[in-house]
Each structure stands twice: as C-alpha cells, then as structure tokens.
Symmetry: C2
Subunit: 219 residues, 2 copies
C-alpha cells in the first residue's frame, strides 16, 4: 500500500487528462448547442411584415392567386407589390377569416372572400353601417353570396381595419379595402404572427360580433 513516485505521477496525469477531456466535451456541447439549438434570428424577423401603399398599379388577381392570367396586354400589374402580397396573405386562410373594415368597395378583395367562403372557410365581416350603401360597396355582394356581415348601427364609426386569418396571423393598419387606398393614398398594413396580438384582436372581433348581433337592435 506504499505511495510511490510513479503512483503520484500517474494519479496527477490521469486527473489532468480527465479534466482536459471533460473540458473538451463541455466546449463541444456548447458549440453544438450554439450551432443547432439557438433560435435563428431570421425566423423572428419573418414574424412580421409591413405593406405600404400606394402601389403604382393594381395587381392582377388572376396572375397572383388565380389560374394565371392569359390576357394579352393585361393592364393590371404582374410585378409583386403590396396588393399582390395582400392577395396572397388572404388566400392562406383554411379555417376562418374575421374581417373588420370601415370601408369596403374593392371588388377583387370581395371576390377573395367569396371564393374562401365557397371553399368552406368561415368568413365573418364587420363594417360601418353608413358605409354599406356607398358607391361600389361590396357588402351586398358578400351578403348575396351568403357571407354574414354585421354593422355597428351607430352614428359613430366602426373604424377598425383589421383581419384575423385562421387565428394564426393578424393584418392591421390604416388600409381600408378601397381602390383609392391601393393606388392613391399613403397607407400601411402590418402583418404579424404574434400570438399575443392575434389573441387580443380576435377577442375584440368576437366582442363586436356579439355586440352587433341584429337581435340586439330589435325594438
């Protein structure tokens, strides 16, 4: 059981070797974790996008989300712009489209809602009662196709301009659904996948949907 010089050297040697191996393993783990497990910032950036208007020209709906545009000399834009992106975002809907918009006179946006409705997407629309009968209003087309539209029935404005798609993302800003907003005005429409924001706007939509139930206005 005597402690020899050889024994001590061996002990120290093994201890240092073990320490080194342990450190190498730990640093390798950190490197692996950094490389493969840290969330990539790019992903976070993709969680929101902003569409600014006006566009130079109105985007061709058929070209971007239809069966393609076969028209020779089509006078709509085939270059991606804010409206073409809006088309694409709206056609992502698989389950629900909750649209809360002050003025709705743009026919191509109404067509997208009708097409979604026909595919089984639950489309609900809230708008301002005084905007229902303005020139080019799309509200009656929506109602004719079976989409339920509710209004505020108030002298004040139902002034929101937001959409919640599939309870998954929100579009919100100054943008009314009009041709003037597309190619004339300075407007913005922000798209976000923030669950917190989506939830808050969904709750607001549901609150207004109940509040503007026609049953509440029967006197």
């Amino acid at each position: 059981m005597a402690v020899t010089t050889g024994g001590i050297i061996k002990t120290v040697g093994i201890t240092i070797a073990f320490g080194l191996i342990s450190e190498v393993c730990y640093q390798s783990y950190l490197w692996w974790k950094k490389k493969y497990r840290t969330p990539i910032p790019k992903k976070k950036k993709q969680e929101c996008e902003v569409l600014f208007f006006p566009d130079n020209r109105v985007a061709c709906k058929s070209h971007f989300i239809g069966e393609g545009c076969g028209k020779l000399g089509c006078h709509f834009s085939h270059e991606p712009n804010s409206l073409s992106k809006l088309f694409e975002y709206l056609t992502k809907a698989r389950k629900s489209l909750d649209v809360c918009v002050f003025v709705f006179t743009c026919s191509s946006l109404a067509d997208i809602l009708v097409e979604a409705h026909k595919k089984g997407v639950v489309v609900r629309v809230i708008t301002d009662d005084e905007q229902v009968d303005v020139s080019n209003s799309q509200i009656w087309k929506l109602r004719k196709e079976g989409i339920i539209v509710r209004t505020d029935r108030s002298s004040f404005f139902m002034h929101h301009k937001f959409v919640v798609v599939d309870q998954a993302f929100l579009m919100n800003g100054s943008f009314n659904w009009t041709n003037q907003a597309i190619t004339g005005n300075q407007e913005n429409l922000m798209i976000t996948y923030s669950t917190d924001l989506v939830q808050q706007y969904s709750q607001e939509f549901d609150k207004l949907w109940k509040q503007f139930n026609p049953q509440n206005f029967i006197s």
Copy 2:
C-alpha cells in the same frame, strides 16, 4: 516505480471524485443559467400592448401626466383608460416624436406635443393637407409653437395614423387624433417595441418627410 494495489485504488478514487465534482459544477451552472440568464417570457409579452377605443369618458390629462388635478368635481376621468395610456406613452419621449396622422383635432394630444417640443424633444408632424383647416384642427397651434408640420398636397389621403417615439417604439392603428375617436368610434392603437417594425415605420416617415418637403412644391 512499481504499480501497487493502493496506487490503483487511489487513482480510481481520485478519478471518480473528480468526475463527480465536475458533474456537480456543470449541473450547478445549468441551474444558475436557467434561473438567472434565460429570458423571462413575461418580458416578451410586455413588448406589445393594444389600446381599444371608445373610452367611456375622456381621461384627465393633468391627473395622469401633469402636476395632478386639483379641480373639485373634475368632469374628466381619473380612472386609467386607453387615452390615459396614450398620454403616458407619448410623454415617454426624450429625443424624438415622429407623428404621422390623418386627422388631428384633439387639443390635449396637441398640448403633449407642444410640451415635448418645449422640453427639447424633436417633434415632426405629417398630416393630410385637406385636414389642416377642418374645424378644431390643431395644426396651426403646433405651427405657432414652432413645430414643423408637413402635408401631402395631394387629392389623395395621407391616411397613416402612426407615431414613432425615440426610435424605440411604434404606435399604429386606426386611431385618428380626434375626440370622436376617443369616446365615439371603434378604434385600435397597437404599441410595439419590435425593432424591425420600428425601423420600417421610421424609414417610411423619413421617406414621406422628404417627399413632402415644401421645397418640392415650389413651381
């Protein structure tokens, strides 16, 4: 230099002990990292807030951001609401307030901009040219106090309703700066600290600020 049984036992013992100590240290580090270094989810949630309107009553500016309200029977609200939060967000400004709003007729919000301007905050306002002379417009008060206001000088609308504060956070939504928007309309105003969004709206503001420079309209 002979290898004894005692030497081997000692070597194995030290190795195991070192391994155990190393493991304890690593687990302690992980525990510490989890406890003190992992970002708290709550913090992320605080990065955005939504103010929905209408408020039941107009908030008392003096009560929330002034020297306190000494009025007996003050007919403004002393309960926190969406407008009182808007007051508080605007008074956070230390360096800059970039305001881009379609209609601006609310005097208490104009007062906040004037007070910020007097404290040295750089206040810039963009609005719609056709809204400058409407009843109760606050634009001339701002200009009188030395705040530069630029307009679109177009028959289309400068329809944005957003503010960038200190390049740090963004407020954006359907909310015009009017009394009707505060206590009448259905409106929303989203506040976000997302650097990505703040940057995009700042760039849009700078673009419009240059575009609406009066020098560009001299014929």
